[in-house]
Amino acid sequence: MNSAAQAPQETVPVSPLPPLARFRGEPLFELPRDLYIPPEALEVFLEAFEGPLDLLLYLIRKNNLDVLNIPMAELTRQYAEYVEAMRSGRLELAAEYLLMAALLVEIKSRMLLPLPVSSREEEDRDPRAELVRRLLEYERMKQAAQNLNQLPQLGRDFLPVLVWVDRAAAPRLPDVHPEDLRQAWLALIVRARAFQHHRVSREQLSVRERMSQVLRRLRGEGFLPFIELFEPVRGVPELVVTFLAILELSREGLIQVAQEAPYLPIYVRLAHGSDLIPLPA
């Protein structure tokens, strides 16, 4: 894990993790060398380990043992003493710790037995192999967890930018599609049961559009020369539509068309009753 684990020394720092435990308010960064654990601290010691693999790793690192050549007898003895200390503290000990104790004893006993002559394949198999594999994998993940925890984390180490959007400042307006208008019109017809009256042809629609345009053009004007309402460059159909629009507006009494005498210019104005503007001379 780190070079400190390799060097012989009295105690082995467990990690840059938080204190292993707190005992009478003092942080404990390492377990005592001897096996005496103050009874009040047993529970926190137990909590300090993530399980039997963690405890085993601790023992191996603390004793500077070679993971790949674990002296099973010594490791098993130390482990059993810890577990016994925990048990005598009448702590509810997780079953995994007892299971591991059984496994250690089993490995130890298998190493004492002579290998059966027949099973050549089994010859090379060290009973410790599976335990070593698990210890190494656990240690790797334990280290990976620390590395992960050291990565900058949103909320803890940096904040996302979040600029306010004032939804009320520019409220979203409904979208209307041309088809909505057709549907609305259809509904009207269905309701009125009189669609024949409201049937509107394309031509009529262009005339009605031109009627609005002519009214808009005349707005705020007095009399406007009739011919100024026409734009010959837009073609004959446009001239006809404009002419029809003027006729229709006149028929509906919306505009007033005036000519002082035959062959004189024709003028058009909105049919206002009040603000009469004299005909230009």
Binding site: L173, H177, D180, W185, L188, S206, L254
Partner: protein, 203 residues
């Protein structure tokens, strides 16, 4: 940086102070009062230097899509309203819809213009509230283009060029034709469907 902002605070120079302020304002979802902003620093930054820095920040951000504004409870960055129409596209919210009354009124004005309120009421068979016309006028889709020379001189409404633009039409002639409505209405089933659909859309 304004040179009158001296004396410089002991642990941070002014550019750094400003950067911290900017980061705090950009990452806070709530407005930050001067009192909040002071908590950012170990030493006491006076109200005046703080306000000057905030004013500088506000100027720095001018012309961007986001602006620094001072509201009742403090300072905050906010998106400029004119950018909201883009930002809303990221929200999967259902767009608001106009009521059936508004849509029908708009349809009548679009297809029958120029029309008076009386004309609209006659087609719809119900009275048209001034509110409906106002919604459409505020939207810039209809306007008064004249008055009918009858008693009361009722205003005549027509659609505006903005209406055509917003519906992506070049002229009223591009509105869906109504010619084929006859066949639709004659079919009983089609009618019921249409009615149901219209009712659903009006919700």
């Amino acid at each position: 940086m304004d040179p009158t902002l001296s004396p410089s605070p002991p642990d941070l120079d002014l550019p750094t102070l400003k950067r911290v302020l900017e980061a705090a304002l950009l990452t806070s979802s709530e407005p930050l009062a001067l009192g909040d902003l002071k908590k950012l620093f170990d030493h006491d930054v006076g109200n005046e230097p703080l306000r000057k820095l905030l004013e500088e920040l506000r100027t720095d951000w001018e012309g961007r899509s986001v602006e620094l504004v001072s509201v009742a409870s403090g300072w905050r960055f906010r998106a400029k309203p004119e950018f909201q129409k883009y930002l809303e596209r990221l929200q999967p919210q259902k767009p608001p819809r106009y009521s059936r009354a508004v849509l029908e009124t708009l349809a009548i004005i679009a297809y029958r213009q120029p029309v008076s309120r009386g004309d609209i009421e006659e087609v719809r068979g119900v009275s048209v509230s001034g509110n409906i016309l106002k919604v459409l006028e505020t939207r810039g889709w209809i306007e008064v283009v004249g008055h009918r020379e009858v008693p009361g001189r009722p205003a005549l409404y027509a659609t505006t060029p903005a209406f055509l633009d917003d519906l992506n039409l070049r002229s009223l002639e591009e509105l869906p034709p109504l010619d084929d409505l006859g066949s639709l209405v004659e079919e009983r089933e089609g009618l019921q469907e249409a009615t149901a659909e219209t009712a659903a859309r009006a919700d």
